[in-house]
Symmetry: C2
Subunit: 332 residues, 2 copies
């Protein structure tokens, strides 16, 4: 990229990204100008850093672009807003091929299209590794934002989108078991999560009392709702039973271990469901009796309680496993 | 920072930053919600990376916070918009003292206050060096955005804010001549530039035909306007004469050189004015005859021409020196 320089890169990125009529001023000026018809704008910013959030040998540029866009756009949707725009800051080594940046831009654009948004601006810099910072913007279309703080005792807890898939895929990659499994949907879930953007405004329209995207892990993220709302959240493990794909992945990992533990595959798969983040499913609470569309699965209920970030329970008890897939214990 | 963790840091940052009634939802939810009364939102994102844009031994955390905020907020003002909000993504080593982050937050808040904006949201991550990505948001208050592409032959070229101060200050720091000069305003200009935010909407109100903030250097940035507008820009060196402070700094650097060149101090100081960025002055073009407030200085005029990014001239000729202060030659 050093050969084309900053201005060449910006011009190229601009050409690779499709235009959008809602973008009043796009890439190439001091700032972008985007329609905000609601009179409010929803905005969220996120890092996606090489070595911490992705590895270039495990994910291609297109997937990394999709993932970077997804992280910020689903945050916007989790407020009940419709994603409209994305700003992208990219820092990269000088010897990064321009084709890598082009594929990244294509991935960013593809995920924006999935969300109904477009890339409206950005920044470039040189760095010793690839650094991405994305800012998602969105419009509430007249609705009140759905906060983390509105859950009340008696509410239903529901989720839409996959749980634990990205964590299982990352475990397969980490274990070295991914060779010859490039088409495994679990590995794909890690490489390019596909958040259910339109479910955010849908939930807002259904009167969701609180909502969050599952990025840290289901229990951790519901713990944020519990803390902000001052409630307890009780999940039913029976409603979170891992699918055959997760059980098979857990089995394949266990078989590969030189030192076998006593962890049953079910516990490991359930840990991915409860503690694996980065699928960017949406979790929300709804007033009791709310008729939910089929893609929403009720997984628990809201109970009275003081509420802190450890106040998301499973079957009435604290989850004894850790809340991160990569540190799980053999107790469920 | 590792001891307090991500959630502790976010909570602390939230407490350190003053609230703002225009922030409908601030730090602590999935996304921020900010008023956009104009029905459009102006947005710009920038990196500020340790080692590339700042050094922790040359700038304190408060100054780095001010500078990070300034970079994005002046981009918003350069569109003619009033800055309203700032999102901040911060990645840092685990051993960074929490007090450093507190001082950074104070600097971010202080610069937002100068611009009339506030910190509305952010992200945190761990990295081996300090990485900042800021996104400035703003409101056009009913005015058309001032683009880079509107300059026309006959227009005046004017600037407000210092030119070359930050570059001179960085040269003093780089040369090791800064010892005992901590109060030198030129060093301060590098550490915490003070862009003239309100001059952006002012210029828009005066009918500015094009505008940009001087971040790459005056000639480089006016070259962006020339290229976008398809014009030539001719500056008058007599109207850009370096002040005594720049001449004195140039003299002190020259005296310190073991290998003396033939560069007169005037050429070096003028090079800072023409090629030094990061003061974040505003440069704009106005229709001929526009009555400009005293803080705007007319420095040249717009001429017909095809226009490319080398189409900013000095006294009718291409500037023979390089466009970056740190690579300047001995020819002016």
């Amino acid at each position: 990229m050093a050969a084309v320089g900053e201005f060449g890169l910006i011009a190229a990125l601009s050409g690779w990204l499709p235009p959008d009529p809602r973008t009043l001023v796009g890439i190439g000026d001091d700032a972008a100008v985007l329609a905000a018809p609601d009179g409010r704008v929803v905005a969220s910013t996120d890092f996606l850093l090489e070595g911490r959030h992705f590895r270039r040998d495990w994910s291609g540029a297109h997937d990394i672009g999709r993932k970077a866009a997804a992280r910020s756009l689903i945050d916007v949707a989790a407020m009940g807003a419709v994603p409209t725009g994305l700003l992208v800051a990219l820092a990269a080594p000088g010897d990064l091929p321009v084709s890598w940046a082009r594929d990244l831009a294509a991935g960013l654009a593809a995920e924006c299209t999935r969300a109904g948004a477009s890339v409206v601006g950005g920044d470039t810099a040189r760095a010793s590794s690839v650094l991405l910072a994305t800012t998602g913007l969105g419009d509430l279309a007249g609705r009140a934002p759905v906060l983390r703080s509105g859950a009340a005792a008696g509410d239903l807890v529901a989720v839409t989108g996959p749980l634990g898939h990205a964590a299982a895929g990352l475990a397969l990659l980490s274990s070295g078991l991914s060779a010859g499994r490039a088409d495994d949907p679990l590995i794909g879930a890690h490489q390019h999560p596909a958040p259910p953007y339109d479910a955010g405004p849908e939930a807002a329209g259904l009167g969701a009392t609180a909502m969050i995207d599952v990025s840290d892990g289901l229990l951790a993220d519901l713990g944020h709702i519990a803390a902000a709302s001052g409630v307890l959240i009780d999940l039913s493990s029976a409603r979170l039973s891992p699918g055959d794909n997760l059980l098979a992945a857990a089995r394949s990992l266990d078989m590969d271990r030189t030192e076998r533990g006593s962890t049953p595959e079910y516990t490991q798969a359930l840990t991915w469901v409860l503690a694996g983040g980065e699928d960017h499913a949406l979790a929300a609470t709804f007033k009791p009796g709310t008729a939910l569309p089929a893609r929403w699965t009720v997984i628990g209920e809201v109970l009275a309680g003081p509420g802190n970030r450890y106040s998301a329970l499973v079957d009435g008890r604290p989850w004894a496993g850790t809340r991160g897939w990569d540190h799980f214990t053999d107790r469920g």
